[in-house]
């Protein structure tokens, strides 16, 4: 079951780097688990060892929305990266672009990837320097906005959007296609 996502208001933390790969998001030493939980403390583990790291700043505490650079989530397919982000508390990630597998993993774990234009991302990143800065991410309307007049439209993957809005059980849904699957198997031995 996917945790539904319709509309979320939350504090923003900025990580203005491009090509943040899943090895950074959740380093390999945390991949040995056999559960879906327990990954939050491993989030950006190596980077968090640096006191100057963005998420270690007081202003970033309690953030539920991450704004970051292009090609976020590139590299390994490890879904653990999304589990770690979700467990740490992030519900949405705003970036100019995402890696494909990461994107698919987000939709299946109640985390909304929001693709905005580079100048819009820059604006949110800049405002996130102010303590307590919040935005509203509305998946139904596909709009991101803040209290200072910023609004930006985004277009979410249609299937991913449906999964999130309705909190669907994807497997349960596909199992309803049983007759089509069986028919396919018969015609393709």
């Amino acid at each position: 079951m996917v945790k539904p996502f319709v509309r979320h208001r939350g504090k923003v933390a900025a990580l203005p780097r491009r090509d943040v790969d899943t090895d950074q998001i959740i380093p390999k030493q945390f991949l040995k688990g056999v559960e879906r939980t327990g990954f939050g403390s491993g989030l950006f583990f190596d980077w968090r060892a640096d006191p100057g790291f963005e998420l270690n700043q007081p202003a970033a505490q309690g953030a539920t929305i991450l704004v970051t650079g292009a090609n976020f989530g590139c590299g390994s397919s490890r879904e653990h990266a999304v589990w770690a982000l979700a467990e740490y508390g992030f519900r949405a990630i705003i970036a100019p672009s995402f890696a494909d597998i990461f994107l698919a993993n987000c939709f299946r774990n109640g985390v909304l990837p929001v693709k905005l234009a580079a100048n819009e991302v820059a604006m949110v990143t800049q405002r996130a320097q102010d303590a307590g800065y919040e935005v509203v991410v509305d998946l139904e309307q596909q709009v991101v906005s803040d209290d200072r007049g910023f609004t930006a439209r985004f277009s979410a993957d249609a299937y991913g959007r449906e999964l999130l809005l309705r909190g669907l059980d994807e497997i349960g849904r596909t199992l309803l296609e049983e007759p089509s699957i069986t028919a396919y198997e018969r015609s393709h031995p």
Binding site: D21, P27, L31, D46, C74, S76, S77, Y159, Y184
Partner: protein
């Protein structure tokens, strides 16, 4: 009938049902499973009381976190051992064939699929691993998926996808001696960037691709993901069929003849349209080495470490500055001559028998530089056995290399094979991300012959001068 590309054909052949908005339910022919990204998927099935729909279309192996040292001893790391045990329990419970540590068929999942002949043209192949793109070298549509999707495929034998766009990478000309498939793909990634193919399936075409062996084609397709692609594909031809003939899982007899006829249809029409195109002249590509922390931060061995200040955008400048700081490199330093501490010959990119043969030719009768620790980790136990039969293990051992058992090993450093902080490694793997091979470790990606030459010299070197 409108003209179709190779990818269109394979896609169309797998549509079970078109769902809304360009999204389709597709049938999966082969599902490869390994220990790291599958335990939660099996747990999910068990929790929901679901079965694996087609266990015979599912193959499992242990590769990511297994030790590459002596196989007769139990795994020393209890957490890694738990994951390996979990896979064998799951395989037994759900009726899936498993190549475990004791099996002569064990190896990196992307090495054993082709080696068994389980990977075939026109198939849709998935695995919870991004380098599943490797199998596209056979004209399969092969893509990496997350654990939730692994569970979905186990339960339904299907996957839900929006159709990616199609990019043609036309590689013309012919390669100079000493330059190979790894250099081609690194040069291409350097050209289009690490997100250059996001949302696309790359089809590699052109004379330079046709001239490659199957193993080299796998190296190229393997790193498609490093350009952001969903998958990489090469249309099957006589080279493909010659590789597959006689392999244990390849069709035999009349079925082989029928398969050949079908496989020959998996190609792009001459007038097929791609959504995007890039070109590369192979004759102008020299040996490539990475200098930074993404595979796109790459240059010819004759080049110097770039000056971030000279880069086009603020974003690139910042990224390069960070990368050089992490890598401990100064702008303007010639790449040739950068001293190294470690050499890793391995991974699903470059640990097949041809890679080992090529590297052995370089090191034969020579010795690893005194400051360097070098290791060879064959891609599979079969590759290892073959190499031993050819005496390559002796060549490597005599030259001072460690000769290991198969696994991912230092490609991702989940097992005890890791770099220490600040250690610099010439690696034949595919990712030079910060900390990938060990926290603080510095990775330079290159071809097997380049890594072998670097091991002997103790620094990065142009293998063409050998």
């Amino acid at each position: 009938m409108t003209a179709r590309t190779l990818f269109d054909r394979v896609w169309d052949a797998h549509v079970v049902r078109a769902l809304a908005d360009g999204v389709s339910l597709l049938y999966v022919d082969l599902h490869l499973v390994h220990e790291v990204t599958s335990p939660q998927a099996f747990a999910g099935l068990r929790h929901a009381g679901r079965k694996v729909r087609r266990p015979e279309r599912t193959l499992a192996t242990v590769d990511h976190n297994v030790p590459t040292s002596e196989r007769t001893l139990p795994i020393a790391d209890p957490v890694a051992a738990r994951q390996v045990d979990a896979l064998s329990t799951n395989a037994r419970e759900f009726g899936i064939e498993l190549f475990d540590l004791a099996s002569p068929g064990q190896g990196i999942v992307h090495v054993i699929g082709p080696e068994l002949g389980a990977t075939q043209p026109g198939m849709l192949i998935v695995c919870g691993d991004s380098h599943t793109s490797t199998h596209g070298a056979f004209g399969a549509f092969a893509l990496g998926i997350g654990t939730s999707e692994v569970e979905h495929v186990l339960a339904t034998q299907c996957i839900v996808l929006s159709k990616p766009r199609n990019l043609e990478a036309r590689i013309s000309g012919s390669l100079e001696p000493g330059v190979g498939a790894k250099d081609l793909i690194l040069a291409l990634i350097g050209k289009i960037g690490t997100a250059g193919a996001t949302g696309h399936v790359i089809e590699y075409t052109g004379d330079a691709i046709r001239a490659l062996s199957m193993e080299e084609r796998m190296t190229v397709c393997n790193m498609s993901i490093e350009a952001g692609a969903r998958a990489g594909m090469i249309a099957p031809d006589e080279v493909t069929f010659a590789y597959l003939g006689g392999r244990p899982r390849a069709p035999q007899g009349a079925a082989w003849t029928a398969a050949l006829e079908r496989w020959r249809t998996f190609r792009s029409d001459p007038n097929a349209r791609y959504d995007a195109q890039v070109q590369l002249d192979a004759s102008r590509v020299g040996p490539q080495v990475t200098w930074g922390t993404t595979p796109g931060m790459v240059a010819d061995i004759k080049a110097r470490v770039p000056d971030p200040a000279q880069l086009a955008t603020e974003n690139e400048r910042e990224a390069a500055l960070r990368a050089l700081e992490y890598m401990g490199l100064k702008p303007g330093t010639p790449l040739e001559g950068i001293p190294i501490d470690r050499v890793f010959l391995g991974s699903c990119t470059n640990a097949r028998i041809e890679d080992l043969r090529a590297a052995a030719n370089i090191v034969r009768g020579r010795h690893v530089a005194s400051r360097v620790r070098a290791m060879v980790v064959p891609g599979s136990q079969r590759v290892k056995a073959q190499a031993e039969q050819e005496g390559l293990d002796r060549v490597f051992r005599d030259a001072g290399f460690e000769w290991r058992n198969a696994g991912c090993s230092m490609c991702l450093g989940m097992n005890p094979d890791v770099l220490g902080a600040g250690e610099r490694c010439a690696a034949t793997s595919n990712r030079n991300f910060e900390g990938r091979q060990g926290r603080g470790g510095r990775t330079h990606l290159m071809s097997p012959v380049m890594a072998a030459a670097a091991a002997i010299e103790g620094h990065l070197v142009d293998v063409r001068a050998w």
